[in-house]
Subunit: 153 residues, 2 copies
DNA sequence: CTCATGTCAGAGAGACTGAAATAT
DNA sequence: CATATTTCAGTCCCTCTGACATGA
């Protein structure tokens, strides 16, 4: 009897995630940017600036990792940082001209236009999409209690 | 209007996956082993040997990546490789004594006993579990057509 | 003091490319 | 010849730990 580390459903979930992430990464690879970097750029289209801890939250990573990602983006000149004048322990991350150009380049790419990308959920009926989303929300809610369990140990 | 890279459900799926993987990794980190390495060891409990391309398939990664992972495991002495006598372009990957000891160590760890681990699906009723699994299978089936789409380009 | 925020160094895994060797 | 398997070198991103500095 094979001893598995995780329930079969979680393996399937992982497989779906990896397949999808690989596909997205491949679609943008010619633009020399990673998915996480693009996520940050896109977010910066809609807010004046981000704090590093907000980047960590949205990318669902820890703060040191966010620092690495931000530094990579600074190296490419897509963002720059300033001290928050109101609270000097914060950093503000701003989109640069170069970062906006990068975004334009990507947003105008033919195969990245909305409707051109593969739709992962196209296999679902509306009811199934809603149910899938509901189950994922429930799962994420449940997974939050992992942290509490950790503290008990 | 925020332009997102992916449907909201896929973000939720990614979040669930990362949370779960992080939890599992943390559970075994004291044993100085990664999840992929442990998956390979566990599989080798049940088959006489593996070919590298089989490792790539089960880990859902490409073959060069599988080579890296196998080499890391060889470095720790958990596996060793021999030429397949029947087909000399194949390698056979075998579990070593040291690898078996590593497995024993992990299998006997108190907090890794079955039933002790956090159950990610405990939030679901039996019906929901079945539905979740069914939807994930359907999604994975659908995602297979990504490759076909790629070839058309 | 405490707490949250941010950075840094270092290590390591993993992913990818391009090239090559090998065997079918 | 073409094809499939495997490895290798090299690069890069991400992740984590542990420590530390900063400022509220």
């Amino acid at each position: 009897m094979t001893k598995s580390i995780q329930p079969a459903s979680m393996s399937k979930l992982g497989k779906a995630f990896l397949t999808w992430r690989r596909y997205l990464q491949k679609q943008i690879q010619e633009h020399q940017i990673t998915l996480k970097q693009l996520s940050v750029l896109r977010r910066l289209e809609n807010v004046p600036f981000l704090h590093p801890f907000e980047v960590a939250e949205m990318l669902f990573c820890d703060r040191p990792t966010a620092t690495v990602i931000i530094n990579n983006m600074r190296r490419y000149g897509w963002v720059e940082t300033r001290k928050d004048p109101g609270n000097r322990k914060y950093q503000q991350i701003f989109l640069t001209e170069s970062g906006m150009e990068k975004l334009d380049e990507i947003n105008q790419a033919e195969h990245l236009q909305s409707g051109k990308l593969f739709d992962p959920l196209a296999c679902f009926s509306n009811e199934e999409q809603a149910e899938f989303d509901r189950l994922l929300m429930k799962l994420n809610q449940h997974l939050l209690s992992i942290d509490k369990e950790d503290q008990d140990e």
